[in-house]
């Protein structure tokens, strides 16, 4: 988004009001906003000069629903249908920008143009270049921003070998997580002489909390389609599949519309753009299995078989779908292809680091001020991403760790904040780039619990084929659950490390091989937290319920009754002017009292269960501070 030349998709000279309707904003009923604005524009008689359009995700999901005005680039945040009259009025010749809807920076100053918003300033959009600018359901919008020009160039001016050379020289590594050089994969697929070949786009995006692929498909499906057609041409395939997880109905819907429109324009099907290259694309839906994001399991799933990975060799580029050569790439990899073709490998390789060229897309989530989608050049440091772009930690709390790569990845502590983000440096530090999930946690997050969370997921999703993965993950999960319940034993940490090694070594596929990563990386960097849980029966973050008690400081309590009212199990003994007391034997550690106690009093504190002391007698009065009338 930020650094693009001409953003107006309007060749008709009209201005446009673009309302984000990717899943995030849509969940806040941004479609109602569009309807409301259309109504207002019509009433003001502006239909001839202003278009009101659906658009995809501009990335700053935290501030949604987002409405953009082009070509000015005005960026409105947290818009409600009730704001429609004001927005429509602003489109009049003498109309003023609706300042209250603008993004306001840390100093409270309004920022009008999105390119000036701190969140966007350091980003560079290649995969997300059209997201938030075009209507994903209108192929003409895509065409107006050089859509399918790369395809045309490929079909008229380039041989398949030249295409592969360009992709290879760009240095782009697979954005699905493994980081295998895409050019090399395509070259190997091309080499095979079997009669059928397949191109597959992996849109299974199983990492919890990741939504990079989903957003891209919802906001700019054509770039993925174009990339796949080009791949088909390059490797000599006529059939492609987009494997989308069934839990993405909006992405599937937008893809289906895009495919249909592409077919109608002769960009898919027989003799594309009048050449003798034919290519068809079909959608296949997943059915709820994380393991089907693994390439070989995915291909079996398309074949109608159970989704379980297989031994490699043979690799999929030699024998994949239906035992035919198959080139499988991630959504973001395909989305980058048209840009690489148009702007050249040299340009792409100049971005990022020598071994990790181009940009990386992250879903920045967790305890961070600006959560949403970002795209940055490889090599930017974690510190810049989290603090400059992400705006730092919510509530002014302390940064504790950043988790990258989803269930296959690891947690990196504050000492790693100056690491440049690229495939190799993250690997060396004990994590992985993965598909782009980046979760930031703060001082209130328990790292043992983070490990447990991911292991619970991986254990559930293990296909069961390999004993070390199937049983090993359960054993690891059991130990973590025991530690969190306060039943950790000496030797548990060593056992976790041993199991972790076995699981990684004995597993056939990436799920198992990387399942221990969250545990091993948290032990590496946060061993003291594990030790506190096991030896002191204490959770340093105050998060593990079995080890943490909530206690009301009698000297700070002002008897506001907020905790009394919020407690779901009536475990607070309190009344007007009377010091409140947590009844420890009733408390379920939900933390509501902790959350509602006003910061002005800060009376509810978390403490290790063993340190809870006797509260004052029930009915003790809160002393009056003001001078009594006498």
């Amino acid at each position: 988004m930020p650094d693009q030349e001409n953003h107006s998709t309007q060749s008709n000279g009209k201005r446009s009001i673009l309302i984000c309707q990717a899943l995030g904003c849509l969940s806040s009923h941004s479609d109602w906003i569009q309807t409301a604005i259309e109504e207002e524009i019509s009433q003001l008689g502006l239909v001839d000069s202003v278009d009101v359009k659906l658009t995809g995700c501009p990335g700053l999901c935290q501030e949604g629903p987002i409405v953009l005005i082009e070509p000015e680039g005005t960026f409105y945040t947290r818009v409600k249908p009730e704001d429609a009259p004001d927005i429509a009025q602003s489109m009049l010749p003498a109309g003023q920008v609706v300042e209250r809807l603008l993004y306001h920076d840390d100093n409270g100053q309004p920022v009008r143009n999105y390119a000036d918003i701190p969140y966007y300033v350091k980003q560079q959009h290649i995969v997300l270049r059209n997201c938030g600018h075009i209507n994903p359901e209108e192929i003409d919008d895509y065409i107006a921003v050089s859509g399918y020009v790369a395809l045309k160039k490929v079909l008229t001016d380039m041989t398949p070998e030249q295409v592969i050379e360009e992709i290879t020289n760009s240095g782009i590594r697979g954005r699905g997580g493994a980081g295998f050089p895409a050019g090399r994969k395509w070259a190997e697929a091309r080499k095979s002489t079997k009669e059928l070949k397949y191109v597959i786009c992996n849109a299974d995006e199983g990492d919890p909390g990741a939504f990079m692929d989903r957003s891209t498909l919802e906001s700019d499906p054509h770039t993925v389609i174009e990339g796949m057609i080009i791949a088909g041409y390059a490797i000599g395939s006529e059939t492609g599949y987009i494997y989308v997880r069934a839990e993405y109905p909006l992405a599937i819907k937008r893809l289906m519309i895009a495919l249909k429109q592409a077919e109608e324009r002769g960009l898919l099907g027989e003799n594309i753009l009048g050449s003798d290259f034919s290519f068809t694309l079909e959608i296949r839906e997943g059915a709820g299995a994380f393991v089907c994001g693994e390439a070989s399991a995915l291909m079996y799933s398309i074949e109608g078989k159970r989704g379980m990975p297989r031994v490699k060799p043979p690799r999929s580029v030699e024998s994949g779908l239906w035992s035919m050569p198959t080139s499988l790439n991630n959504v973001k990899t395909f989305a980058s292809v048209p840009v690489i073709i148009l702007r050249g490998a040299e340009w792409y390789a100049s971005i990022g680091t020598p071994n990790s060229t181009g940009t990386a897309v992250f879903a920045l989530t967790g305890k961070i001020v600006n959560s949403g989608l970002i795209e940055v050049p490889m090599g930017m440091t974690l510190r810049e991403i989290i603090f400059d772009i992400g705006g730092g930690i919510l509530g002014g709390k302390e940064f504790k760790a950043v988790q990258t790569g989803g269930p296959s990845g690891g947690c990196l502590p504050a000492s790693a904040l100056d690491l440049p983000v690229d495939f190799d440096s993250l690997n060396e530090a004990g994590s992985i780039m993965g598909s782009g999930g980046m979760v930031v946690v703060d001082e209130d997050t328990c790292m043992v619990d983070v490990a447990r969370y991911f292991l619970e997921f991986t254990q559930e999703e293990s296909c069961g084929k390999c004993v070390p993965c199937r049983i090993g993950t359960q054993l690891v999960l059991d130990i973590l659950n025991r530690i969190i319940a306060g039943e950790g034993k000496p030797g548990d940490i060593e056992l976790l490390e041993e199991y972790g090694e076995t699981i990684a070594k004995g597993s056939l596929c990436g799920l198992g091989k990387s399942a221990p990563n969250p545990v091993l990386s948290t032990i590496k960097y946060f061993r003291d937290e594990y030790e506190a849980h096991i030896y002191e029966k204490r959770c340093p973050a105050g998060a593990c319920k079995a080890l943490t008690a909530f206690y009301i400081n009698p000297e700070a309590c002002r008897a506001c009754m907020l905790c009394f009212e919020s407690c779901p199990v009536a475990a607070v003994d309190g009344w007007l002017r009377t010091i409140h007391i947590v009844l420890q034997d009733k408390c379920i550690k939900c933390g509501s009292c902790y959350d509602v106690c006003p910061p002005l009093y800060n009376a509810v504190i978390k403490m290790p269960v063993s340190e809870v002391h006797q509260p004052p007698p029930s009915g003790t009065k809160v002393p009056r501070k003001k001078r009594s009338k006498c």
Binding site: M561, L576, P598, K626, K629, C630
Partner: protein, 359 residues
């Protein structure tokens, strides 16, 4: 201008909503904290909000940050002055009580010195001349050198926002006490006490209940033992000693007490405070009714206004009835006195005092 009060609210209010929940005035007029703050910011735009607060200080007591909404409205009343109907009534009333129809300063004829002055106030007189006479006589006998002063503490002026007139009236009471040569005033009404302590005074101020608790009670047929609920008048909210004394007196009279949930510092106003009957009679009656309904038993209180406010809804006694009135059983259901009765009683008391103790 409510700058200071609003600043405190912005900084210290945590939106616990306890005031909105427990105060009937706030509850009836505002749903949210923001509505209340909006009203204060617009300086109490409607007379209904501005003159409906009874100034009972419940808000300050239960507020975790001890914010006092009543004081904010009082400040606005000081800026805007009273409602015309209030002004008319109170001007007339003050004219009467400060005239020689009522006002009287009488030293103890049986003593050469004057240590303390009994100040019965106006409403207790309106309730019962007999109680005032008997109380005075008892005090005089146990504490030689007790004068009696009839007048007004200026509470109604204070509550209407006429702070200049209020100070004048209250200062005058102090002056009369000093003129009598005394250093202590014994008040019968918690309202008088509240009003007289609003400014720094160089005389000691105590309630008759604490005094009575220290001296012997008169011999009197006490009747059968009862159990009562105690209603603490709102102006006695923070006076632990007065609250204790009243309870002791009930016990010494041979009766038992059951505390209500909202008692002592959490007591609920009877609805007569703040001169609200002029501006919002329905609220006033509702508060009285609600408070009376909180009592499961007959009520004993130690403010004559509270007594009259609650009596229509539940049998209510003044604690002095239990001590000095052998017919207290009937007094429980005596109807509230009217203004004309009050005037008559005030004149009668003055005459009786002059007759008995005038020199």
């Amino acid at each position: 201008m409510l700058e200071e009060e609003l600043k405190d609210i912005y900084e210290l209010c945590v939106n616990c909503r306890l005031c909105l929940k427990h105060c009937e005035f706030l509850n009836s007029l505002f749903e949210t904290r923001d509505e209340l703050v909006g009203d204060l910011e617009s300086e109490g735009a409607s007379p209904k909000t501005l003159y409906s607060c009874t100034m009972c200080d419940l808000c300050e007591t239960i507020c975790p940050s001890e914010l006092n909404i009543g004081r904010a409205y009082l400040k606005l009343r000081q800026e805007k002055g009273p409602l015309p109907v209030q002004k008319k009534f109170i001007d007339k009333d003050q004219e009467w009580v400060l005239s020689d129809k009522f006002a009287l300063s009488l030293p103890d004829p049986d003593s050469s010195e004057c240590r303390q002055v009994f100040f019965p106030g106006c409403n207790l007189v309106g309730y019962s001349v007999d109680l005032v006479m008997k109380t005075y006589e008892h005090l005089k006998s146990k504490l030689p050198g007790t004068a009696i002063l009839l007048g007004c503490c200026g509470a109604s002026r204070r509550e209407c926002g006429e702070d200049v007139l209020f100070k004048e009236t209250a200062d005058n009471v102090e002056a009369e006490v000093k003129k009598l040569g005394a250093s202590e005033i014994i008040v019968a009404c918690p309202n008088c006490r509240y009003a007289l302590t609003e400014h720094e005074r160089s005389i000691k101020i105590r309630s008759v209940y604490e005094i009575l608790d220290e001296i012997d009670l008169p011999e009197m047929a006490r009747g059968d033992e009862r159990t009562f609920n105690v209603h603490d008048p709102c102006r006695a909210r923070w006076q632990d000693e007065m609250q204790d004394a009243a309870r002791n007196l009930i016990a010494k009279s041979g009766h038992k007490i059951e505390e209500m949930q909202y008692s002592r510092d959490l007591t609920m106003c009877c609805g007569l405070g703040g001169q609200i009957p002029f501006a919002n009679l329905p609220l006033s009656k509702s508060m009285a009714r609600n408070r009376a309904q909180q009592a499961e038993l007959d009520i004993v209180t130690y403010c004559a206004s509270c007594r009259d406010a609650l009596a229509p809804y539940k049998p209510t006694l003044h604690v002095l009835d239990l001590i000095f009135n052998s017919e207290w059983d009937e007094a429980r259901v005596k109807p509230a006195h009217k203004p004309s009765e009050a005037r008559a009683n005030q004149t009668l008391l003055r005459a009786q005092l002059l007759e008995k103790f005038g020199r």
